[in-house]
């Protein structure tokens, strides 16, 4: 994990942000010489990526999970996307809610069911199964259901079908032997019809579904899950089975909110991202000078760590300001302060972010870290980044996330991956105490970070003095001095030349007299000029 990205051959072309899915999918369609299972896109962000193209075309897929895990929304999203984006009309056969209820439930996601029905892109049939009305006398079959489904499919030329939730039949009809035989026939019939079907099923005890639907639907099984951990709810999705296709096997966090469903394809990120040799200024000239290339490499991950009141957010705000001034989009994830507060506080250093917000170049996404689990945060960030397509991202602060070091490490790793995959330059801030700085608790994070800048706050002769130094800057011939900096109403001023602190805050030794780094004599004399 230490040499992230740099083992790759350097290419200076634009990485094309938000391109993880696109670039992946552009590679994934049927490779020459290998016939692949035909698939249909669901249009669900991330899901098409982990399944390498979506659901099996013309085959049934089982979506199962406990109550409230999002089965119906998942199925409906596939259907609506199919109808509105991929020219595949769909039938929604519901056994639980009537058509009005279905439409109302998904209206919050922006789905216009009535409009799609009117445009003959969608047909909804509510199958009411009422036990108290039904008496069974002798042999029967479910031909009524087949006829209705066939009728709905023909009426709009449907290519996709959702059956939500078939198991309601078991509560309405008593003869399970007939039901099972008929369900088996139904799935065979669906395959013959060549429709892409999604069958939802309630999760049962020790089985995927209460009535064993997984026995019949064997092509693709997707399990949805809701876990509450310390009052924080995380939704997860897992592809249990996908016959004839490779797929991501992990549990992937997914998100349901007013923008629909998005799945975070964690492991699809890797070290294969393209890299960029362009330079992005930090916005602080003195700091740029320390970095050796007048800024950060574009697409790198930068960490500012330091104690309370060292100006981490100010650095972050100036970085965002500089990006917006260059005409780049910046997405600012604020986990501790409200956007208004950040904007107001930065005004005291002469930085006004408001015009950038108004111009649509800067966007704040503020939330308390405790609002969601890590994975939900990641899924949300992934979605926001896809939507806004920023060149620059700020996460302020990382330390707002509490948890075990492993969890934090994993979260950060995924975050860095998803940003790198898009070629986004990311700036993280992290609050650390002096003890932490010396004990090296940040070491784990260091391996994920390209440029690590430490801000220290020292008391010298009764005065607080702030010092900045670079712990590392991959691929950059950077200064190893501790330099003093000041926050003033014109931003941040880094004073050139090493300053003599009584307590050197890190392992970067400084030879004050010449300004030459003692520890790295091989680095050229160029350094001493800075």
């Amino acid at each position: 994990m230490t040499e992230r990205g740099y083992a790759m051959p350097m290419r200076s072309q634009d990485t094309g942000r938000g391109a993880a899915v696109r670039s992946f999918l552009s590679k994934s369609p049927p490779a020459a010489g290998r016939s692949r299972l035909p698939k249909v896109l669901t249009g669900i962000e991330g899901f098409d990526l982990i399944t390498m193209g979506g659901l099996p075309a013309g085959r049934p897929t089982l979506v199962c999970g406990g109550p409230g895990c999002g089965k119906t929304l998942f199925a409906m999203t596939c259907l609506v996307n199919g109808a509105s984006q991929y020219g595949e009309p769909g039938v929604f056969m519901t056994f639980e809610e009537n058509a009005e209820e279905v439409a109302a439930n998904v209206a919050s996601l922006g789905f216009d069911i009535a409009g799609l029905v009117a445009a003959k892109k969608l047909a909804v049939d509510y199958v009411r199964v009422e036990r108290s009305e039904i008496e069974e006398s002798g042999d029967y079959d479910l031909e009524g259901l087949f006829v209705r489904l066939d009728y709905a499919i023909k009426s709009i030329g449907a290519k996709r079908v959702v059956l939500d939730t078939l198991e309601a039949l078991f509560s309405g009809l008593g003869n399970t032997a007939i039901l099972r035989a008929e369900l088996r026939r139904l799935f065979a019939w669906l395959k013959v019809r060549g429709v892409t079907a999604i069958i939802t099923g309630e999760r049962g005890d020790g089985a995927l579904t209460r009535h064993g639907l997984e026995e019949y639907v064997s092509d693709c099984v997707i399990l949805l899950d809701v876990v509450a951990h310390e009052q924080v709810v995380t939704r997860r999705l897992r592809v249990v089975k996908y016959r004839g296709s490779a797929h991501g096997t992990n549990e992937y966090p997914f998100l349901i909110d007013d923008q629909g469903i998005s799945v975070l394809p964690i492991t699809s990120a890797g070290l294969g991202h393209e890299i960029d040799e362009g330079i992005v200024s930090s916005g602080v000239p003195g700091l740029d000078a320390m970095l050796g290339h007048n800024g950060f490499y574009r697409g790198s991950s930068v960490l500012f760590s330091g104690g309370a009141g060292t100006g981490k957010t100010t650095f972050a705000g100036i970085f965002a300001d500089a990006a917006a001034r260059r005409g780049e989009r910046c997405l600012y994830f604020a986990f501790e302060e409200s956007p208004q507060q950040i904007v107001r506080n930065l005004r005291s250093t002469g930085i006004d972010l408001q015009p950038h917000i108004d111009a649509g170049l800067l966007r704040f996404e503020a939330s308390r870290p405790s609002t969601y689990g890590y994975e939900m945060h990641l899924a949300r960030m992934n979605r926001d980044i896809d939507a806004f397509d920023p060149e620059v991202v700020v996460v302020d602060p990382l330390s707002a996330f509490r948890g075990t070091p492993t969890e934090i490490h994993n979260t950060l790793m995924r975050m860095v991956d998803l940003l790198k995959a898009r070629g986004v330059t990311a700036l993280f801030t992290r609050l650390i105490s002096t003890q932490e700085l010396h004990s090296g608790t940040d070491q784990g994070i260091s391996s994920l970070i390209d440029i690590w800048i430490v801000l220290t706050d020292l008391e010298i002769a009764g005065e607080r003095t702030r010092g900045v130094h670079l712990v590392k800057a991959r691929g950059m011939n950077h200064s190893s001095q501790v330099r003093q900096y000041q926050l003033w109403d014109g931003g941040i001023r880094v004073i050139a030349g090493a300053f003599s602190g009584h307590r050197k805050p890190s392992a970067a030794p400084v030879l004050i007299a010449s300004g030459k780094p003692a520890a790295k004599p091989k680095k050229s004399a160029k350094k001493s000029r800075r």
Binding site: E135, S137, G138, Y140, G144, V147, Y151
Partner: protein
């Protein structure tokens, strides 16, 4: 679709408003099960509802939209439209007792001695 001869009340309706029992049988074409169901429901009606019923037979292959509007799932299905409450009896109607329970002609909790 109404099977010839079955769409009209089998006897003169009692009362001013028409027959007491309005039944609709949904079948699937000419399958043996459909035929059995038609024969069974006629027999039961003639024995128990003489002159008090009307029976429509609908082939859902011909009229799928009627399967939708009548909420038919299984075939064959007899729907008792009137009198209230609405009831559905699914199957080939070979179990006469169950049909009578479904038509509210016999109390549900009758246990043979």
């Amino acid at each position: 679709m109404t099977v010839p001869g079955s769409g009209v009340p089998n006897a003169a309706p009692q009362g001013p408003g028409g027959p007491d029992y309005v039944l609709r049988l949904f079948i699937t074409g000419q399958t043996p099960r459909s035929t059995t169901a038609i024969a069974n429901i006629r027999k039961i009606c003639d024995e128990h509802l003489q002159g008090r019923y009307s029976l429509d037979v609908v082939d859902i292959y011909q009229h799928p939209e009627m399967a939708v509007s009548a909420q038919v799932i299984a075939a064959p299905t007899v729907v008792k439209m009137l009198p209230e409450p609405l009831r559905r009896i699914v199957g080939d109607l070979s179990d006469v007792d169950k049909v009578l329970v479904g038509l509210d002609l016999r109390p549900q909790k009758q246990v043979p001695p």
